[in-house]
């Protein structure tokens, strides 16, 4: 007896390429826990006031976009610690270039994306061709950018025109544009990782560089492209931030801890630091967890230091639960 077909449900499942990342359990638990605390101690403000929910999402946009890029490099067994400075550079350059003039908006946007692509290219080349550990390589490029920024630009020089600030404040129907952008970035990231050859090769190279090489993959090129994607997401985050602030300053990136938080949320989302495993939906959940914690703590009026402690605990708890789970699977 011969059956050509594979069980239909298996194809369906893999065709969509979605397995719900376990981090969503965390998200649900934290959200429910947060709402209960909100009802008990803050009169249920979050539920009764839908703008708070929107605020969670908007808060998550800047981090979410760059975390998608971070997910790419981390799947490729690399990392990018220069994103915070790329964000700053973008914010500063954008407001300098635009000078409040709506006509200069397209030129400025193109230029900052080109600069971002160059940063990503340089990061990728240092990692692949000079064989520098990515942690060190991007720490180095990040410091270089920081130095140039602090030496060249003062705070809040220039500004972005009102039309550009729509990106940060306007809505398309009931949904804020920024949230649409975040969702688009996540979906695009998912599509690239799950459906394209580049995505498959990135998982391959990240899972095992040597195996990738033996399978005829262009390992360096794959990692370089991942770095470029990551830097471009940092630029997009920077654009969003400057549209909210109206003007850029060198400290906006490092102050938002976008480097470490993008790594943290990616890891919480289930992407392995060692590469080859993970995805953007997990990362999105990681970002939302941070957003929910922020919002709930703000509503409760709890000290922000405690919030940071709680974030740290979440990172450890999440990663510990993954390693416990994989241990159990191995047994």
């Amino acid at each position: 007896m011969t059956t050509e077909s594979i069980p239909a449900d298996e194809i369906k499942r893999s065709k969509l390429g979605i397995r719900i990342p376990p981090v969503y359990y965390f998200l649900v638990i934290i959200t429910v826990g947060g709402l209960i605390l909100d009802i008990l101690f803050a009169k249920g403000n979050i539920i009764s006031n839908p703008t708070i929910l929107t605020n969670i999402l908007i808060r998550s946009v800047a981090l979410g976009i760059v975390a998608v890029g971070q997910t790419f490099v981390m799947i490729g067994a690399s990392i990018d610690l220069s994103v915070a400075y790329t964000i700053s550079l973008t914010a500063v350059m954008t407001s300098q270039l635009m000078q409040g003039d709506p006509e200069r908006v397209p030129m400025a946007i193109i230029l900052v994306f080109v600069i971002g692509a160059v940063i990503g290219l340089v990061n990728g080349l240092i990692v692949t061709k000079l064989n520098v550990n990515p942690f060190i390589a991007t720490l180095g490029t990040g410091l270089i950018i920081a130095g140039i920024l602090n030496g060249t630009f003062a705070n809040f020089k220039g500004s972005v025109p009102k039309s550009f600030r729509a990106l940060g404040y306007e809505s398309l129907g009931p949904i804020p544009i920024s949230i649409i952008i975040l969702i688009a970035v996540v979906v695009l990231g998912w599509f690239i990782l799950s459906w394209t050859k580049f995505g498959a090769h990135l998982y391959g190279v990240g899972g095992s560089r040597e195996l990738g090489r033996l399978s005829g993959l262009r390992t360096s090129r794959t990692i370089i492209v991942a770095h470029i994607i990551c830097s471009l997401t940092a630029v997009l985050s920077g654009l969003f931030i400057v549209s909210r602030l109206g003007s850029g300053a060198p400290w906006v990136g490092p102050d938002g801890i976008y480097d470490l938080e993008s790594v943290a949320t990616t890891v919480i989302g289930g992407t392995a630091l060692s590469g080859g495993r993970g995805g953007v939906f997990g990362t999105l959940a990681g970002v939302l967890i941070f957003g929910v914690i922020d919002t709930v703590f703000n509503q409760l009026g709890v000290d922000t230091y405690l919030k940071t402690v709680f974030r740290g605990a979440i990172i450890i708890l999440a990663v510990a639960s993954y390693s416990f789970r994989s241990k159990r699977e191995a047994a």
């Binding site: 050509e4 594979i6 069980p7 498959a200 998982y203 090489r213 699977e329 047994a331």
Partner: protein, 523 residues
């Protein structure tokens, strides 16, 4: 010599006068071998004989210093494994080359995904993978959408073969394909090899298990110290001939003599009704000066028993007596400090710190017994130097410097380093888990001598092995495990058949009382 065997068939692939040197070693010295379609060709030799190097040269992973490679009569020169792959030469390395977090289909077609403008057609991908799995007859076992990490070692190997077939391989090279398979899985693999053979592939495999070489190989090529000793038809030789070719001398005996009753002393370790998640009511007694062999099929709980006795995964219930005192073995540190040593099965992952020098590896176990704050002054360093060279001589490690990193050693030498690490700890109870897996005949004999030597000094040894000749040749008593418990106890020099009967659960020798017949050790 290869020419003597020329049949009317044309060789599919041929290497002629291949030389390859690495710093300090002539890995291949003027080697010429021909491989024919529809033939299974085994390459044997001690570790360091040049087998893997030859395979890597053929697969394009190494470039030879001189010599020619002919494929289908044409001279080829591969600059990259992918070039060889595209010609139809595939190699399956000993370390598995699958991405654990990706599906079977994604693994098989990595780098060759069916795609339009960069977008992968997943349905097509799974379909093609299914077709390939079906072609080698394993489609009912392995789903294209299963994650590689969810497969057993044998299934992963089948996926690798499927990958080779999907590359339209004409020559399939396998480096020790059966090293970690159970006997059922070996049979499955052998069946597949026979089927591929009838399709006209040239199959080449490296193996240390001569019995299996004789079972499936049509021809055997023997390498020694980088030189081609000869290629013979399997039918025309015996395993003694091959061993003679491999070592250049007749091994008069593989194993040191068994212990005698005066060697055996008091019971040093006793387990009554020991159980945990993997083990079920284990009874065991170990006496001073004896080797207690533990046999059993893969998955029968052999390694789990060793781990319980060393405190890696301790017993949850039951009674343990160590040197007559009731106790519990809580963790490895506890075990080491009570003079229990454990030479693990996976020397790369558990036995050695590969990126550290041999010296530090040797001193690892003994250092763990010292205080964290012990000051290593000058005398201490000199003392440890002396200790390292004494240990090195004892186990016969042949290296130019003990400062070399452990990863640069051959398998045999690595195992000797692991051994010396535990010898340094002066343990009184030794647990060996597969002490000679994957190492050459000479190192094997050396390690067997060392183990027997330990018992002469009053050490009690538990030796786990999946190689029955080793169990039979070394053990003073044999415990056979079956489904997580002791299936039965057999005396020294029991037959392979007796052991297999217990291991497969067909003969229940299980003793309900734990008393050990004192006469039993005497054979």
């Amino acid at each position: 010599m290869a020419q003597d065997l020329m049949t009317e068939k044309e060789p599919l692939m041929e290497v002629r006068n291949i030389n390859k040197a690495f710093p300090g070693v002539q890995a291949l010295d003027n080697v010429s071998v021909a491989f024919y379609p529809g033939e299974v060709h085994a390459v044997v030799g001690e570790n360091g004989a040049g087998k893997s190097t030859l395979m890597k040269v053929m697969a394009g992973a190494y470039k030879s210093d001189s010599g020619t490679i002919l494929f289908q009569g044409e001279i080829e020169s591969f600059n990259h494994p992918v070039e060889a792959q595209e010609m139809g030469i595939s190699i399956i390395y000993q370390e598995f080359n699958l991405l654990p977090e990706r599906t079977v289909a994604q693994n098989i077609f990595l780098g060759r995904e069916p795609a339009k403008i960069g977008i992968v057609n997943l349905r097509q991908l799974n379909k093609q993978a299914h077709a390939v799995l079906k072609e080698i007859g394993v489609d009912s076992m392995i789903s294209p959408t299963a994650l590689a990490s969810s497969l057993s070692v044998a299934e992963q190997q089948l996926v690798e073969i499927a990958k080779a077939i999907s590359l339209d391989a004409k020559v399939l090279i396998m480096d020790e394909p059966t090293a970690s398979l159970t006997s059922t899985e070996v049979k499955l693999l052998n069946d597949l090899i026979s089927r591929l053979k009838t399709k006209g592939l040239a199959l080449i495999f490296i193996s240390h298990r001569l019995s299996e070489v004789f079972e499936i190989a049509d021809k055997i090529t023997v390498l020694k110290d980088g030189q081609h000793v000869g290629t013979v038809n399997t039918k025309e030789v015996t395993s003694e001939d091959i061993v003679y070719m491999m070592v250049g001398r007749v091994l008069d005996h593989y194993f040191p003599p068994l212990g005698s009753s005066e060697d055996f002393g008091d019971v040093v370790l006793r387990v009554k009704d020991g159980s945990n998640n993997f083990l079920n009511s284990v009874y065991l007694e170990l006496r001073k000066g004896e080797i207690l062999g533990i046999a059993g099929l893969q998955g029968s709980g052999r390694t789990e028993l060793a781990q319980a006795l060393f405190g890696v995964v301790p017993f949850k219930s039951g009674e343990i007596e160590l040197r007559g005192k009731p106790t519990a073995i809580k963790n490895p540190f506890w075990a080491i400090s009570r003079r229990i040593g454990f030479v693990t099965e996976d020397r790369k992952a558990e036995g050695l710190i590969l990126i550290q020098p041999i010296r530090d590896n040797m001193l690892l176990a003994i250092r763990s017994l010292q205080s964290l704050f012990a000051f290593i002054h000058q005398d201490g360093i000199r003392q440890s130097r002396n200790m390292v060279s004494a240990l090195g001589e004892q186990v016969d490690i042949r290296v130019d410097s003990y400062g070399k990193e452990a990863q640069d050693l051959s398998g045999g030498n690595q195992q000797k380093v692991v051994l010396s690490k535990w010898l340094a700890s002066e343990s009184e109870i030794f647990i060996f888990d597969e002490p000679t897996r994957g190492i050459d005949v000479e190192s094997k004999a050396r390690i067997h001598d060392i183990i027997r030597g330990l018992t002469k000094q009053g050490v009690a040894v538990i030796m786990i092995s999946s190689e029955l000749p080793e169990i039979i040749g070394m053990s003073d008593r044999i415990l056979v495990m079956h489904e997580g418990t002791i299936g039965g106890e057999l005396p020294a020099e029991s037959s392979e058949t007796d052991i297999m009967l217990v291991a497969t659960g067909q003969n229940n020798h299980r003793t309900s009382s734990i008393s050990v017949d004192p006469e039993r050790g005497e054979k």
